[in-house]
Symmetry: C2
Subunit: 157 residues, 2 copies
Amino acid sequence: MTSARLPAIDPRDVPASRGSNYPDPFAARVAGRVKRRIGDALGLKNFGVNLTMLEPGSQSSLRHWHARQDEFVYVLEGELVLLSESGEQRLTQGMAAGFPAGLADGHCLVNRSDRPAVYIEVGDRMPGDAATYPDDDIAAQARPDGWTFTNRAGVPY
Amino acid sequence: MTSARLPAIDPRDVPASRGSNYPDPFAARVAGRVKRRIGDALGLKNFGVNLTMLEPGSQSSLRHWHARQDEFVYVLEGELVLLSESGEQRLTQGMAAGFPAGLADGHCLVNRSDRPAVYIEVGDRMPGDAATYPDDDIAAQARPDGWTFTNRAGVPY
């Protein structure tokens, strides 16, 4: 532990968690994603903030967009490729991206480099959200107790 | 302009704005604060994200806390002093702080160093917010068209 005390933290003191709530076979694509939930550690409720590391070859999520929640990312270290409907673009240290709620522009970050990439991600917690995945046969609905996943026809995974 | 295109941006392409909506004489304390409203530039609505630079001698705000909105900061460059009810602490690159809605812990950042400090700040936009200032005779109420300031007795500035 560092000497930081609330309302401050050193993110290195926050546990790192790997893994995903995606059903198989989709979870494998984010197996190299390690999150530190620093917003939760600070007691924040209205939005989440993660300090996230992507290993080479991993991606941040399936390409998706949210119906009601905004998302934001800021690149701290390394290099990422942003996939969206406007094509691919390289994000380097100090660049940011944002994904407004309801904008049907599926997006994700992929680490195609040979070193880890680190970014901050922020998302609010507007109730009644849903996620749409343009490339994969999966759909997600936010419930009060978490996300539920079905295929596009509505069959639970 | 850099080559970044939405949904990505290079924050250097976002206009920098100086100044505050604080009434006199309080505005002088944040005169060395320069914000780039990158969340707005990305089209985000549920929360705001600023890339903010504090010149030596300036501070982020009056010491305050919010009734309904969460706040988060992440230090990118330089060194800041966080003032809160738990005393002073030094925040260096990579440290974070968070201020949960409704927690009566007035806080602000002060740049006591001899070089600029840069941080990301995030705040949601929960309606019906109010800000309380434990050190100063000022109070703020969020209205649909912006913040209004009075003294503690309710007399408008």
